[in-house]
């Protein structure tokens, strides 16, 4: 078969349905077929992109697994941190960016301070989240929820210059279609006087809006 035919066009194309289908299947608990990983002369630059974003060289990882062993969220992840590092090394960009793991990472940096190779694993995760955001990958399941929350948080921040817990929760519940999510918490906090309904709008709210706009312009320019 000529090289072109087995080109990565499928993998490179983020609109391709196969990775999405896979995650979808996984989410539904279907059996997922795993094609062998093909390593050929087209080198991946995922490791380099991560390095550029985070200043962390994932290629140094020797897979000791200490990050996974110490990660407080590992039990909830679909791929363990060391698997993510391995996939970055091999350039399996779709598997990485569509994983739950990258957005479940709480940036507690336990992995970073214990890594024997001095890799800031948490910063690698951070850069992968950013790369997923740049590529508009919404994520599925838990990862999707984290993404919706982050977006809701930034939206209120953009609106008022400060975040507003009530609005963030409302936006999150609406956008994730769980209207009564965390209602109990809200109620308890309300009872304890820890909720303020009126958002805190700062005077320099336009300065904050400007920050968002300039960054958006920069991104588009790039």
């Amino acid at each position: 078969m000529p090289k072109k035919a087995r080109d990565r066009s499928c993998k490179d194309n983020r609109n391709c349905f196969i990775p999405k289908l896979k995650t979808f299947q996984r989410g539904l608990g279907f059996f997922v077929m795993q094609q062998p990983i093909v390593i050929d002369d087209r080198k991946s630059d995922l490791s380099k992109e991560v390095l550029l974003h985070s200043g962390q060289d994932a290629s140094l990882c020797f897979q000791c697994g200490k990050c996974t062993a110490g990660c407080p969220v590992a039990f909830a992840m679909d791929l363990t941190p060391n698997q993510i590092m391995r996939m970055v090394q091999l350039g399996l960009i779709d598997d990485v960016l569509n994983s739950q793991t990258i957005r479940l990472c709480a940036y507690c940096s336990t992995c970073s301070v214990r890594c024997p190779r001095n890799i800031g694993v948490a910063d690698v995760m951070d850069s992968l989240r950013i790369m997923a955001a740049e590529r508009n990958i919404p994520g599925t399941d838990r990862s999707r929820k984290v993404n919706i929350f982050n977006q809701a948080f930034l939206d209120t921040l953009n609106m008022f210059g400060r975040s507003h817990a009530v609005l963030v929760s409302l936006l999150f519940n609406l956008r994730s279609c769980q209207p009564f999510h965390n209602a109990k918490l809200g109620l308890k906090m309300f009872n304890n006087g820890k909720i303020k309904l009126k958002p805190d709008r700062i005077k320099g709210v336009n300065e904050v809006k400007e920050i968002f706009q300039r960054i958006n312009r920069l991104k588009k320019g790039a």
Binding site: V113, V146, F153, S176, V208
Partner: protein, 286 residues
Amino acid sequence: MKVAYYPGCEYETNAKDYEASAKIVCKNIGVDLVEIPDWSCCGSTAAHSTDHLLAVSLAARNLALVEKIGFDTVTASCSACYQRLALAQAELAQDKKLLEQVNEITGYDYKATVKVSSILEIIAGVDEENIKAKVTKSMENFRIAPYYGCLLVRPSKVKIDDPENPTIMDRILQTTGAQVVDWSHKTECCGASLSVSNNDIVTAMVSRIIKAANAADANCIVTACALCHLNLDYYQSFVTQTKGALKETPIFYFTQILGLAMGFSKKEMGVEYNITDTAELVKKVV
């Protein structure tokens, strides 16, 4: 001593008790917290998960405001805010190009001269004798599990103490006569960034921390972070009520403990805002 103060978005809601107690305690030991005028949100996890430049710029606006009012040190009570500000400062101080770019985005002319300190560091910097002199009540009935969480001690660039066994808060708490227990989950993460989006994960993480505090025979957990406080305070109800194996463990801010020891009322310290029952224990302040 005057220090610029960054309250953080939860200062009137979830962290109002932290804010109040921190201000009172600091004033009492001669630290004047001056609120940054018109501060904005640090961006928190949402920003750094979305765009690196956004995260740094949002923090930089506040740092620039600190510089503008002529302060060289800023402190934040919330440790998430502390970490964001400190990380941004570390990067800006190191990378001139980034600083230029960020200044262009924020519209401020920040020179990267501000030192970011957590409120723990500010209070630990006060002479221990001064604090002891203000302590009027004994907290000896408090068996405290000091909980640092992750944001204060990691990553290495901004850590305020040893990431595995920090003692800065232990030392402050010991000045009140409280018993500070040695326990295993001092710096385990509570999962705050997931507390809205994935609360089942957070419940599991919190239950481990409560379990460890129970195992160490602590009768309360003391924290220096608004997010940890909310998480531990609220989510433990799921495990203490359903599983029964875990004891309900009241959560305090370290400033509340200091304030109670200094003789301030429980109302001033805002302990009744807690979801967990603090009344029993607060009665034991003698």
